[in-house]
Structures are given as structure tokens and as C-alpha cells.
């Protein structure tokens, strides 16, 4: 039985990671023919080319700028919204949660097209400015927001509602008691929301495709290569992003593990 489960786990991981492994291997392919299936020696030429490709780097920069702004803004807005929704009575809360959940189940393409129509109408009314960075950031905030609310809500529900009042009874002003009492309690949810918003924003193709105007994000840039060929530079870039994310995850896991140890140690004392 044990071997079966081990084999099963192995197969699952193989299935998940085989494409990434292939991608990483071919980012080191030496062929000048840009082949993605024929191996011809190890080289770092695609990494060197990547650093010279200004268009690609600009697309990457746009993507990262949008992701950072969208994640930060939607986290702040979403946390505030979650606190407000949590304070409502049961029926109002249910109704509002349904409304906020709706954009998540709405297909991306519908969100994208409807946002585009809205932005085009607004920009026309404002003198025909082209869509671009501003509309992209607004669109990304829009679709990230429900995810932040969804990840903060459970933490708020778990929290003892009397904590906030207790803090004020002890003479803490309302704003300070939110930041010093409530926020630390719900922080894990907020951080989860932030990370989720960030990855969703980096990932997004469909909504960006419709709202990008004359700005190009990385996914759109890659997609536009498909008449000719997707250059192995993209493999190199994906490898670097993958490495960065792995590193980030390891650091986060180490830190939480350390935190956990300290907490248990503190309790024992």
C-alpha cells in the first residue's frame, strides 16, 4: 500500500513539474535555430539575449509595476471592505458577500470586455486618451479585490469580536486599536490576499488583453510571438521567475516555521 501511495505521489508531482522541467532544460539549449524540441548543447546565450531585449524587459517591467500597485491597492481596499462587511448584520453581510463573489465566478472574458467598454466610454468622454497603464491598473484592482476580501473574511470571523472593544475599554483610540489589535490578528489573511492578488495580476492575460490599450504586459507580448515563434528567451525568463518564486516560498516557509517554534517555546515557559 505504501509503495502504491508513493508511486501515486510521484506521478502527481511528475505531472505537475514535467512541463517546468522541460522549460528550464530548454532555456539552456545552445541551438541558434530557436528550437524548443531538439537539444544541441549547453549554453547561456538565451539569458544573455534576454538581458539585451529591451521590448521584453519593458513588458516585464510593466507587468511587475501593475502587479505591485494592483496588489497593494486591492489589499488595502479589500481589508477595509472586509472589516466593514464583517460589521454588518447577517442578511446584509450575505447579500454583500454574494455581490463581491460574483466577479470571481464571472468568466474572465466577460470581465475583460465589460471593463474595456467602460474604459473606452470614459476615455472618450475625457477627450479620447488612449487606454494604457491607468486602465490596466484599475482593471487588475477590480478582479483582485474579491480574492482579498475572501481571504481576509475568515480571519475576521475567527477573531473574538470583543477584542476590539476591550482595547478601547483600556483607553486605546479606535484607529490605534484597529492597527494594534485587529490587524495583527487578521494579518495572515491579509498577507495571503496580498500574495494572491500579486500572482493573479502577473498571471492575467484575458482581462489585460482587452484593457491594455497601447501598453504591453508580458503575457500579451509572449502571445504576440505566435505567428513566428516564441523565442527561448521566454524560457530563460520563466526559469528566472520560477527560481525567484521558489526562493521566496522557501524564505516564507522558513520564517513561519521559526515563528511556530518560538510560539510553542513561549507557551512552554
Amino acid at each position: 500500500m505504501k509503495t502504491v501511495s508513493k508511486v501515486y505521489a510521484f506521478l502527481v508531482f511528475l505531472f505537475l513539474y514535467a512541463p517546468i522541467a522541460v522549460l528550464i532544460v530548454f532555456s539552456f539549449n545552445g541551438s541558434a535555430t530557436m528550437s524548443r524540441s531538439v537539444w544541441s548543447g549547453f549554453s547561456l546565450q538565451w539569458y544573455a539575449r534576454l538581458l539585451q531585449d529591451r521590448m521584453l524587459l519593458e513588458a516585464l517591467r510593466n507587468t511587475l509595476v501593475i502587479a505591485v500597485i494592483a496588489a497593494a491597492v486591492s489589499t488595502v481596499l479589500g481589508t477595509a471592505a472586509a472589516v466593514g462587511i464583517n460589521g454588518m448584520n447577517r442578511w446584509a453581510r450575505r447579500a454583500v458577500m454574494n455581490v463581491t463573489n460574483f466577479p470571481m465566478v464571472n468568466p474572465d472574458i466577460v470581465t475583460g470586455v465589460s471593463l474595456m467598454l467602460l474604459f473606452v466610454a470614459v476615455s472618450k468622454a475625457m477627450g479620447g486618451r488612449s487606454l494604457g497603464m491607468v486602465s490596466l491598473v484599475l482593471a487588475h484592482i477590480t478582479f483582485c479585490l474579491p480574492y482579498v476580501i475572501l481571504s481576509v473574511m475568515p480571519k475576521l470571523r475567527q477573531m473574538d469580536p470583543n477584542l476590539y472593544e476591550a482595547a478601547q475599554d483600556l483607553g486605546c483610540p479606535p484607529a490605534a486599536s484597529f492597527f494594534r489589535v485587529v490587524l495583527p490578528e487578521i494579518l495572515p489573511g491579509v498577507v495571503t490576499g496580498l500574495i494572491m492578488a500579486f500572482t493573479l495580476s502577473i498571471d492575467d492575460f484575458v482581462v489585460s488583453y482587452f484593457t491594455s490599450g497601447t501598453t504591453q504586459t508580458l503575457p500579451i507580448f509572449i502571445y504576440s510571438m505566435t505567428r513566428k515563434r516564441v523565442s527561448p528567451e521566454i524560457n530563460a525568463l520563466s526559469t528566472l521567475l520560477f527560481a525567484a518564486i521558489i526562493l521566496l516560498l522557501i524564505v516564507i516557509n522558513l520564517r513561519t516555521a521559526k515563528d511556530g517554534q518560538e510560539k510553542t517555546a513561549g507557551k512552554e515557559r
Binding site: 535555430t33 539575449r49 488612449s130
Partner: protein
Amino acid sequence: MKKRIAAFFAAILLVFAPVSAASAAETPARPGVTINVYNWGEYLSAGGDGSMNVNAEFTRRTGIRVNYTTFEDNESLYSKLAGGGANYDVIFPSDYMVARLIREKLIQKLDYKNIPNYRYIDKAYRGGVYDPKGGYSVPYTWGVVGIFYNKKYVKEKVDSWKILWNPKYTGKILMFDNPRDAFGIAQKILGYSYNSARSDEWNAAAKLLEQQKPLVQAYVMDQIFDKMSSGEAWLAPYYAGDAVTLVRDNPDIGFAVPTKEGTNFFVDAMCIPAGAKHKREAEAYINFLCEPDVAAANMEAVGYSTPESAARKLLPQEMREDPIIYPPEAVLRKAETYTDLPDDVSLQVDALWAQVKMGGAGQTVTLIAVLAGFLAVYIGVVVFKKIKRKRELR
């Protein structure tokens, strides 16, 4: 607080505020402005390996900055233009899309006085069927469609589209994943024009494609490079310009233009959308790309053919005389160019293409039945849960 909110909105308004565009007609190209250029992906020399970074060079020479973005096919370019919200100054549609954009008044007439380098464009490439009077476009590249084949497995002479219907190569044939190019092949076998307005001809072409479907490994675009070089597929129609590298780097792969039936001669042109904010600067950009040394640098990077003999002379010998890039006169004489189809025909083509690829144009009845089934199951589950909960409460 209110004041602060007002200031915030004022700031947002400022971001959107229109650039006061002085009428660009008479004024000379102004350095310092930024033009939005929308081109095919990987379709310009971007620098690296000692080649010219065309956009940087343009900025260096004129002081005009370039916001360069890319698209993947004519249809997405069209939807960007028709959808509004994006102000492009220079776009690169193909022949039939130029015709459609002219018809729908989405591009404007060029002022050739501002594009003196138009004189370098050879007479043969001016005034194609898509822009017969030649007022709207300047050709950027051209090329023909041909068949790639793996010499190891395909021993016979490749000179007819019919080889793509040969059952000997079942499962080793690739086909275009776009309707115009796929139908075009069938149309040439049947001896029809690409731009036929007769629905029976399109139906016959669709029937032929349906017959071919069991032999086809996949309908793909850029994947043909990998599939051909790895030997996964043996026969694939594609654009000559993209293939030069494939043939040069892989001695097993050959390229042939089907001379029996004739082929497609396509042109990707430069145009200026109606309502472009920087028409004068856009014309300067087009003019710059027609500069023979710039055109040669682009063609070297892209692999397509230039419509300028002056630029062709500057290319390295193996490119200048490559029969794939510059096919013999006989091939060109037999080739036909796409132009815009009437609306009802293009609707029919889309429907037929869906039918070819999916086998049946998605019957509405089945679709409704499936949706109704899902809905019934969903309602059933919800009702069941409600009843269960009520019972438990009791």
C-alpha cells in the same frame, strides 16, 4: 477631507486629459512626442548580435520616441482598432485587412509628400488589389506561401497542394490554423479565386478540407517549426519568410511553392489609423522604415522579402539570392493576393471554418440540451439540500 477627495479626482482627470494636439497636417514632425506603433510580433530588427535597433535608431535620428507593441494576427489588430480605446499611429495590417480597414474608414490617406522614400518601393509592389489606388498603404514586406517537407520521408516532387491530401502521409501533415490560408489551399486545388464571392465555391472548399481532416496531425501556426525540425510532421504549408531559418539550419527540410495551382502572394503594409494623434510623426516613421539600409536591417532580422530593390542589394548574398525569399518570376505571375471579402461571405467562411475544425457547426439543440441538463442537476442539488436541512431541523 472633501477638498482632498476633490484634489484626488482632479489628479485622475489630469492623467486622462487630452494632449492638445495641434493639427499635424502642416507642422513638421516634432521631436519629443511619442508615437504608438503596433506591429506583428518579432517583425522588426530589435538589436542584439550587432544588428540595428531600429526603434532606437529612429529616436536617435528624429528625436521622436516610439512606444512599440505587438499583435499576433490581423483579426486582433482589427478588434483593437474597431473597439476603440487605443490610439495607434502606425499599424502593419496584411493585404486583405488593409482593404477591410479602408472600407470601414478605420485608416486614413497618407501624405506621400512626407514619405519621400516611397520612391524606393518597386513599381511592382505598388497599388495591389487591396489598395488599388495606392493612397492608404506603404508595403513593408511580402512573401508567398509554400510547402515545407521532410526530404527523408517525402521523396516525390512537391509541386502541388494535392500532396497534402495524400493518404500516404496520414498523421504527418500540418495545416494552417486560420481560415483564409486553410481555405486558400483548397480553393487553389479546385481552381477558384481566393476572393471568390460565390458561396457554392466556399462550400466546395470546405468539403475538401473536411476530407483532408483525418490526415491532418494538427492545425497549428508557429508550432510547425518544432514539429518539422523534430521530424514529428513531414509536410506543412507556411509563409516562406518564416521558413528560411528552418531550411537553412536543417538540411533534411525542403521548401517548395506549388507551381501547378499557384499560391498566395501576401503583403504586410504600413498604415496610419483614422484619428491618429501624431500623423506627421507616423509618416516620418514609415519614411524611416523605407530607408534602404533600415529596410535591409529589418529583412535580415525578419527573413521576409523587401519590396525595395535598393534594400535587397544591401542584403548578404545568401539572402539576396535565396530562391525561397525571392522566388522566380514564374511563381509570382501565378500567385494571387487576398483582398477583403463581402460581409456575408466572411460570415459564411467563419461558419464553415468552425464546421471544418469542430465537425458540425455546434448544433444549437444539443447545446441547449446540455445547458438545461446542467441547470436541472444544479437545481436538483440545491432543492435536495434544502429539504435535507429542513428535515434535520425538525
